[in-house]
């Protein structure tokens, strides 16, 4: 029998497995996916947000605890547990050496990402390289790993973990870490959570999943039924606007279209619905998924002209191109008259000062609803481009309530051998909103806590058994 069973195969699960093994426990990790898809959503990540009081290896300048906390407070609108959040923030400052010891390599700070190289440490090669490194390290340390092993239920007695079941197989262990992700890949559950809108539509039917197809939320549902304490709103998720042509799963980073702040966004009725120039795209793009989800047909169209080309990250799919705006409307199958009214109104309202897409500039609209507060320049230079965008869900926030020891709770009582980490508990810290790299910070901090605690719980029990 193993001491610690880790359910899940992404960043948090691997951190838990590694720390438990380092603490001397015999560890078995169960990954639901086949080997080639291992790593859950972590394979699509790129960096983790790190506090630091002075320049540190790949991080420039300083990003003190208070600033990190304020950033988190801002994006969550206070929907966060301050104690757990500060735990994550502090852990983020000391985890990189541990990560390096397990083979993770970081990028030297790049000139082009100066803003993010202050707050975020980038994995060399991205999240899949990190996941590979952790799996290699786990294998070297003697962690047992099984792929194609989705756990569908747990045996729990009086709040204590007894065994996990993979189909008909029953796997016992002294302690268990749940790190099996959210439920965003479960289309039925998303449909149920988002319900039917006033137009009679089921919005979630038009969502695209940016990450893994394996996060079906089976254990989340099962734990709810078992009476575990749940936190979070099922409709809250990291949801961005992505190219409508993106694959249903695993489109990852390339499907983003970050031209929104350089042009205008219109909905299926060819009217604008939000201030595209509110703030920089990295700060605001996490809101556009929800904004598009609220539009008819859950679709939006980003319209730019050729002045914008070369000023935003190249999108993976080419835009729909047209020589004139009416032609673009026809190609996008938007009502031509409304589209032209929207664009003409916008163009007439632009007050162009000195355009600079690298700062919050003074180009704005006047007398327009909604306004465009920065980077407002008339869309008038052919050729014109349009990109259809849909809501793309990265991960969900509904999860298990936990504490500083990563324990699963039943009716307010903590379990003494069942722990939780990663996306399954991120909602404790991140009740809504998002800021780049914080998911990996939570996963790394709580993965390591859960692993340590699980090993301790298992080995203590072992010692009792021997005595």
């Amino acid at each position: 029998m193993h001491d610690v069973l880790v359910i899940g195969g992404g960043n948090a699960a691997l951190c838990a497995a590694l720390t438990a093994r380092e603490a001397g426990a015999r560890v078995l990790l169960l990954e639901a996916s086949p080997r080639e898809w291992r790593g859950g959503n972590s394979q699509h990540t790129r960096n983790l947000r790190c506090m630091h009081d002075a320049p540190q290896d790949v991080l420039v300048d300083a990003y003190p605890e208070e600033e990190f906390w304020q950033d988190l407070l801002k994006v969550t609108g206070g929907n966060t547990d301050e104690r757990l959040a500060r735990l994550v923030i502090r852990a983020s400052s000391t985890c990189r050496d541990w990560m390096r010891r397990h083979g993770v390599r970081f990028q030297p700070s790049l000139a082009g990402t100066l803003h993010l190289s202050r707050t975020n440490a980038f994995f060399m090669g991205g999240g899949k390289a990190l996941v590979n490194a952790y799996y290699r390290s786990a294998e070297n340390l003697g962690v047992d790993i099984r792929y194609d092993s989705p756990v569908d239920r747990l045996e729990i007695q009086d709040g204590r973990f007894v065994a996990a079941c993979v189909g008909r197989e029953r796997i016992e262990a002294r302690a268990c870490v749940l790190a099996a992700g959210g439920f965003e890949s479960n289309r039925e559950w998303l449909r149920e959570a988002w319900g039917q809108n006033e137009r009679g539509e089921w919005p979630a039917d038009n969502f695209i999943i940016r990450g893994t197809r394996f996060n079906q939320g089976v254990l989340l549902k099962h734990m709810t039924a078992q009476g575990a304490d749940i936190i979070g709103d099922p409709t809250q998720a990291h949801c961005v606007a992505i190219d409508a042509r993106a694959p249903l799963y695993d489109g990852g980073i390339v499907t983003r279209v970050d031209a929104v702040s350089l042009g205008v966004m219109v909905n299926r009725d060819a009217v604008r619905f939000y201030d595209e120039g509110e703030d920089f795209w990295p700060k605001r793009y996490a809101i556009w998924g929800r904004l598009v989800a609220l539009q008819p047909g859950q679709i939006g169209y980003c319209i730019i002209d050729s002045k914008a080309v070369g000023r935003f990250m190249p999108p993976v799919f080419p835009g729909v191109k047209a020589g004139t705006l009416p032609e673009l409307a026809r190609k996008l199958e938007l009502d031509e008259a409304t589209f032209m009214r929207t664009l003409n109104d916008y163009n007439a309202a632009c007050r162009v000062g000195s355009f600079d897409h690298t700062v919050l500039d003074d180009c704005h609209t006047e007398g327009l609803t909604p306004p465009k507060t920065h980077w407002a320049r008339p869309i008038d230079q052919a050729p014109f481009y349009g990109y259809a965008l849909r809501p793309g869900v990265t991960f969900t926030y509904l999860g298990l309530k936990t504490d500083a020891r990563a324990r699963v709770h039943f009716g307010g009582e903590p379990s003494d051998n069942l722990f939780v980490a990663g996306e399954m508990m991120a909602g404790n810290v991140l009740g809504r909103g998002y800021t780049a790299g914080v998911g990996m910070s939570i996963g790394t901090a709580f993965g390591r806590i859960a692993g340590t605690q699980a090993a301790r719980a298992a080995l203590k029990e072992d010692a009792h058994a021997i005595a």
């Binding site: 803003h115 993010l116 991205g126 390289a129 590979n132 694959p247 390339v254 070369g310 000023r311 990250m313």
Partner: protein, 382 residues
């Protein structure tokens, strides 16, 4: 003339299926939107300076790629993902297209697709047999020990002419290929700083270090410095052998000191050390080549890779055997076999794997020039 040249090249490219460059273009579009591999090697930062990837860009980036494999294992879009991104393979396919397209004489470009171990060894064996038979007919194949005096078997001037001509041909053919490649690119003027940097990267094989110093990937996602080290042994072994020949030539003409040279003499020491490197390096590279991850590189090019590796190994092996047995009665036989092998190596040099050196250095030089120029794109990175 220039336009005819271009037309012919296009026709050849089409005949070879310009699909390879189109595939690089498709994959680079995906990579450019992702950029997670930015610090592995020079290919990705070079890519970020472009929004579109024409045939010229594909050839440039393909030859900048060292086939280290790190980007395949790190790729979230690698097969079985439907985007099926496999940069090392796509780049390898375009590299072969580069060699074929820019080959001189053009008709010989087809040799790149037929250059396998069998062809290489057959060439070597044929040439060796020719020399052996020539000696046998003159009755000088087996002989009393000649105390290592090769010129008693083949006159010095004959060898100098034969190998000078073969080597000269190889240099000319590769140089013309290199110039044709460079003409298709327009990187701007070569500065001493850029030339120095390109030379350093070529000599140190910087881009086989994985960007983090742990090396590149071979059979799995583990990093290893083995390929870099085996390549170093091969290259520097080759250069020592070359230096040995140069020193011997100098001894012969400038100092009036004809071979044979003592075991402790400079030419023999250089040749011996180089020869040992040229045994260990190619053996290691062949071993790695056979264990390579099935998705890495272009498996169809393995015969070409192996042919070159095996010829290098055979050249070194026959050379060292000749040195060891030069005082015996089989010297002439061994000399004939060694010279045949060396001749085969020289003749196939411009139509085999060796060509990668020319185009890779050119691509490194272009990158060294290009990265010193301001980037015209203003993507507002984050």
């Amino acid at each position: 003339m220039q336009s005819l040249d271009a037309l012919t090249r296009q026709a050849v490219a089409l005949a070879n299926g310009a699909a390879a460059t189109a595939e690089v273009s498709r994959q680079m579009q995906i990579c450019n939107a992702c950029r997670y591999c930015e610090t592995f090697c020079a290919v990705f930062p070079a890519m970020t300076r472009r929004l579109e990837f024409g045939a010229g860009d594909a050839h440039y980036l393909a030859n900048l790629c060292h086939n280290c494999g790190a980007c395949l294992h790190a790729c979230q879009y690698a097969p079985p993902h439907e985007f099926a991104v496999n940069v090392p393979r796509a780049m390898a396919q375009v590299r072969q297209e580069t060699y074929t397209e820019y080959a001189w004489p053009r008709a010989f470009g087809a040799l790149y697709r037929r250059n396998g171990v069998t062809v290489a060894l057959a060439t070597a064996a044929g040439l060796a047999l020719f020399l052996v038979l020539a000696l046998a007919m003159r009755g000088t194949l087996l002989h009393e020990p000649l105390a290592g005096n090769f010129y008693a078997v083949f006159p010095h001037s004959l060898m100098a002419w034969m190998f000078g001509a073969a080597f000269g041909w190889a240099v000319l053919a590769l140089a013309i290929g290199g110039v044709r490649f460079w003409r298709g690119q327009s990187p701007g003027p070569v500065t001493p700083a850029a030339a120095g940097e390109a030379t350093r990267h070529a000599l140190a094989l910087t881009y086989l270090d994985g960007g983090h110093g742990d090396g590149c990937n071979e059979s799995d996602d583990r990093f290893t410095l083995l390929r870099r080290r085996f390549h170093h042994l091969t290259f520097y072994g080759f250069m020592l052998c070359f230096a040995s020949t140069c020193v011997a030539t100098l001894y012969h003409y400038a100092l009036g000191l004809p071979a044979p040279y003592a075991l402790t003499s400079l030419p023999v020491v250089l040749g011996t050390v180089g020869g040992l490197g040229l045994l260990a390096g190619p053996a290691g590279l062949l071993w790695l080549n056979m264990r390579r991850h099935p998705l890495q590189g272009d498996p169809r090019q393995r015969p070409m890779d192996r042919a070159f590796i095996v010829l290098l190994f055979a050249t070194s092996l026959t050379g060292l055997a000749l040195l060891a047995l030069r005082d015996t009665g089989v010297m002439a036989l061994l000399l004939a076999v060694h010279l045949g092998t060396v001749m085969a190596l020289f003749l196939t040099l411009p139509y085999g794997k060796f060509a990668h050196a020319v185009y890779r250095v050119a691509a490194l030089l272009k990158w060294a020039i290009e990265r010193r120029q301001p980037n015209r794109l203003q993507l507002g990175a984050d």
